[in-house]
């Protein structure tokens, strides 16, 4: 049975799940949810995800939402298939969770709000708040300085292999670097830049990019 992923191939949170499924070689089908039309806030969708958010997966009878829960589930279920995205020891796994939490709490909101200000509001014909953008950028610079420190000591966030922790950063950083024009945040940091080159060159991510465009 093929995993159904509810969302859009262009949206960041579904991309987190799709990248993971591609890495693990798990077959999936995408069920479009039209965010522009507000489909995710309608009663039928709220039955699937009561907070009105994408993605949701349906795997036979099993349903799950929250992208970082879904990737943890599949990384565990298919631990022996494809690359191991969870680390080799319990301590490495803990570091995977630590950096997944860092991404979720320290980077995600800043990135999301920058993309909102620089990409989404202008698309909707609304003005962005320059002072807010500057503030967000400064905060993000401070966070990425810590990443630079970390990645000067280890090839990937949780250790010497690619894991869910690195994967989780792909969608938001891509948006920041492309549509939001903030590539300098990455390219000006030697180790962050090297890490970005490695993780964004992975075949699974390239496959997703081709699906998205």
């Amino acid at each position: 049975m093929v995993v159904k992923v509810y969302g859009s191939v262009k949206a960041a949170c579904p991309q987190r799940v799709l990248a993971c499924l591609l890495e693990k070689g798990v077959e999936f089908e995408i069920v479009q949810v039209d965010l522009d039309e507000g489909e995710h806030k309608r009663p039928e969708f709220l039955l699937r995800q009561p907070f009105g958010q994408v993605p949701v997966i349906e795997d036979g009878d099993f349903k799950l939402f929250e992208s970082r829960a879904i990737i943890r589930y599949y990384a565990a279920k298919y631990v022996n298939q494809g690359p191991n995205l969870l680390g080799n020891t319990l301590e490495e796994k803990a570091l995977v969770d630590q950096w997944l939490e860092v991404e979720a709490h320290n980077l995600n909101d800043l990135a999301f709000n920058l993309v909102l200000q620089l990409v989404i509001l202008p698309r909707m014909g609304q003005r962005s708040d320059t002072a807010l953008v500057h503030n967000l950028e400064q905060k993000l610079e401070a966070v990425l300085n810590i990443y630079e420190q970390r990645l000067s000591k280890s090839n990937y966030l949780a250790g010497d292999s690619f894991t869910l922790a690195d994967l989780s950063h792909l969608p938001a950083l891509r948006y920041l670097m492309n549509e939001a024009g903030m590539a300098h945040l990455v390219t000006q940091r030697k180790h962050v830049n090297a890490w970005w080159d490695k993780i964004s060159s992975r075949p699974a991510w390239k496959k997703l990019a081709s699906l998205a465009h």
Binding site: P50, F51, Y73, E91, H105
Partner: protein, 211 residues
Amino acid sequence: MVVKVYGPAYASPKRVIVCLIEKQIEFETAPVDLIKGEHRNPEYLKLQPFGALPVIQDGDFTLYESRAIIRYYAEKYRSQGTELLGKTIEERGLVEQWLEVEAHNYHPPIYEMTVQLLFASKLGLSVDEKLVKKSEEKLGKVLDVYEERLSKSNYLAGDFFSLADLSHLPFTQYLVGPMEKEYMIRDRKHVSAWWDDISNRPSWKKVLELY
């Protein structure tokens, strides 16, 4: 060697402490005074470079982010104390789902309310009433979803207590206690019963007694 938990006076470290007690793991604590800005000291930043609480030291192993720490100990000590991860991979998936819900939907508004109502004045800032009102409305909507969920299952991930429920203890305690917003819980029949159940666990009562 005993696990050392930094910052027990505050909410997020309590998330870790209640987990350690449930898993019958010995620990010690080290104070960190946020009002004095001790989380910004160079020695602390060496342990937790983002300057947040908690961080743990377990022999050579240092780990931060409370929800990463509780996952680690729940798994490492799987065979002792309370099972906090469910029994199957699917149950674990649901635990992860509701932990993420807590982190992304529940935590942001309740954290804003905590900062405004419990810490602003201590930091010499005025309370942003509009922000409090907006956050309370957001939290109310989240609690409505919880009410629906808990009308169908005793705990968030299913009919078993897990990390997902545990994760809610510290900030919800602030809500019903010093923030004086117990009505948000009591106005919702199933949320109220769930809160009574989880907050009366011996582990949580121990945390409140100690810290």
